[in-house]
């Protein structure tokens, strides 16, 4: 690992590996991760996008009817016992060290007709340093979002259609449109030409060529060249090789760029073409395509800056690294195991309780069976029909049952009648001589002075509201000036009375 560049909306920084020894890769990854963690402490604990350089990587094509990762890997990686196989010679022979990713429309897992295989663009990028760095970042608690190759980044950063497609569902598009293929050429002052084809920011193909460079200042060149000390030299031969590459890709994919963007600041010394010369030469390669020239001393840095703050495109990226398990996955597995253990425990407890209740019910059933047998034997019942016989007996007993409440004679409403009589007898015109109340009858003896008083009293007693007593009355003279009235009331007969 040579170094790291961190680009955010308001910050840029570069870290160079202190040790160029190849066996120091783990130590470099650790040191780089720690440097990154220190910088990220100011801006949060996550990297939205990790872009790995394509140096040593290859983008080529395979013919397959199934572009699932397993099939592509089987096609690309050479079997150990077939070292002379020709099919995978375009890819680096680094089994287990490269990430393979299909590009463009073939990146969606596609299972086609086995008789009509399709051409799928596949990039193979050595990812061992990236794996080490991601693991170290994960150890330090830094989350890494999308991991992409430089080709993905170039496609998203410079394709004009990628910017116009931003906004998702909120984008204001009035009419349907076809998305053109854009070819982006980045002239890296580190001495290489990196190109990518894209459609709406999605990389379709990519490639890299070596370029000569010229030193612009006397200082020693940086190992991570940022355009301060060198300039690339692009010759007609370099662009002819690029044209050949693009012609081959056009034949494989059936598309060709209709717009070209060149990013960089080439030097025109030693036979090199300046920006205008590059534009003229590319115009001969693709006569109909408009060409944009973006002069920039540090095209890689500007590419990264273009992507700062932008959401990664969902369809791009190196899935092996993006989906690389980390602490979050380990925690997820651990908690899943705990949840499964708890669920197993709960189900086990429930099952054991169920078994215990089931045993108790079986015991009760056997006890009931014994009781049934005993009752049947005691009553000389047939075992087969004992239950029915007992039920029939119970029904008969219920029918013969007498309602005891009907046998009890209700008490007479003595108090109510006495209260009613007290209202009638509360008069100064009469004298109460005697009142007798019993369960059998009521007798009231009253002395009055005049016959009219007797008649009025008799009428009042007979018309007492709510009274159940049937009254009879007799009157007899008492002395010369008084009458003795006798009222005899009898209770109505009740049920159960003879």
């Amino acid at each position: 690992m040579l170094g790291l560049r961190v680009v955010s909306l308001d910050d840029q920084a570069t870290w160079q590996s202190p040790d160029a020894e190849p066996d120091a890769a783990p130590a470099d990854a650790r040191a780089g991760a720690e440097w990154l963690a220190e910088r990220l402490n100011r801006n949060g604990k996550a990297i939205s996008r990790l872009i790995i350089d394509t140096d040593g990587g290859v983008c080529s094509w395979v013919s397959t009817s199934d572009t699932s990762p397993e099939v592509v890997r089987a096609l690309v990686e050479q079997p150990f016992d077939q070292e002379d196989a020709q099919g995978s010679s375009r890819f680096p022979e680094l089994p287990g060290e490269t990430a393979l990713e299909t590009l463009g429309e073939s990146s969606a897992a596609h299972k086609g007709d086995h008789h009509n295989p399709v051409r799928a663009a596949v990039l193979a990028v050595p990812v061992v340093p990236a794996r080490l760095l991601i693991d170290e970042l994960d150890r330090l608690g830094i989350r890494v979002g999308e991991v992409e190759a430089l080709w993905h980044a170039i496609a998203q950063a410079w394709d004009p259609a990628a910017r116009s497609s931003l906004g998702g569902s909120k984008a204001e598009r009035v009419i349907a449109e076809t998305t053109p293929v854009t070819g982006v050429v980045v002239l890296d002052p580190a001495g290489r030409l990196v190109w990518a084809w894209s459609r709406a920011g999605e990389a379709l193909a990519g490639g890299t060529q070596r370029l000569q460079t010229v030193r612009t200042v006397d200082a020693e060149p940086d190992r991570l060249e940022r355009g301060a000390t060198r300039q690339p030299i692009v010759t007609e031969d370099d662009l002819a090789r690029l044209g050949n590459d693009w012609l081959a890709w056009s034949m494989q994919l059936g598309v060709t760029p209709t717009r070209i963007v060149v990013v960089g600041h080439p030097s025109n010394i030693d036979g090199g073409l300046d920006s205008a010369g590059i534009g003229r030469t590319l115009g001969r390669i693709r006569p109909d395509a408009p060409i944009d020239i973006v002069p920039d001393d540090d095209p890689i840095g500007t590419t990264l800056s273009q992507l700062a703050g932008r959401e990664p495109c969902n369809q791009s990226g190196i899935s092996e690294l993006t989906d690389r398990p980390g602490r979050v996955h380990r925690a997820m597995y651990r908690w899943s195991a705990v949840a499964l253990l708890l669920a197993a425990g709960a189900v086990g407890v429930f099952a054991s309780r169920f078994l215990r209740v089931s045993d108790e019910i079986e015991t009760q059933i056997s006890e009931l069976g014994r009781d049934y047998l005993g009752v049947a034997n005691e009553n000389n019942l047939n075992l087969a029909t004992a239950s029915l016989d007992l039920e029939r007996k119970i029904e008969q007993l219920k029918k013969n049952q007498v309602d005891v409440s009907s046998l009890v004679v209700k008490p007479r409403p003595l108090l109510e009648e006495l209260e009613a009589l007290s209202f009638v007898l509360a008069s100064d015109d009469l004298t109460l001589r005697e009142i007798t109340m019993s369960e059998l009858s009521i007798t009231v003896k009253v002395q009055v002075a005049e016959t009219e008083t007797y008649e009025a009293l008799s009428q009042a007693i007979l018309s007492i509201s709510g009274s159940v007593v049937e009254w009879r009355s007799t009157v007899a003279p008492r002395g010369s000036n008084a009458l003795e009235c006798t009222f005899t009331g009898s209770w109505p007969s009740q049920e159960g009375e003879n």
Binding site: P22, L340, V347
Partner: protein, 50 residues
């Protein structure tokens, strides 16, 4: 980019092993298997009880 040096086969193999071991450690499928087996056994016992 011209400063890159090629790793020996042994070193590359060792790095690949370290990366693979880290991936396996972060995806501990064995941790799930035992609780899953216990859950299946408990479910079978419950089904028998029902």
């Amino acid at each position: 980019m011209s400063d890159t040096q090629r790793l020996s086969d042994d070193e590359r193999y060792e790095l690949a092993l370290v990366a693979a071991a880290s991936e396996r450690r972060n995806r501990p499928k064995n941790l799930i298997l035992i609780p899953l087996a216990l859950f299946i056994i408990a479910s079978l016992v419950l089904a028998y009880a029902l």
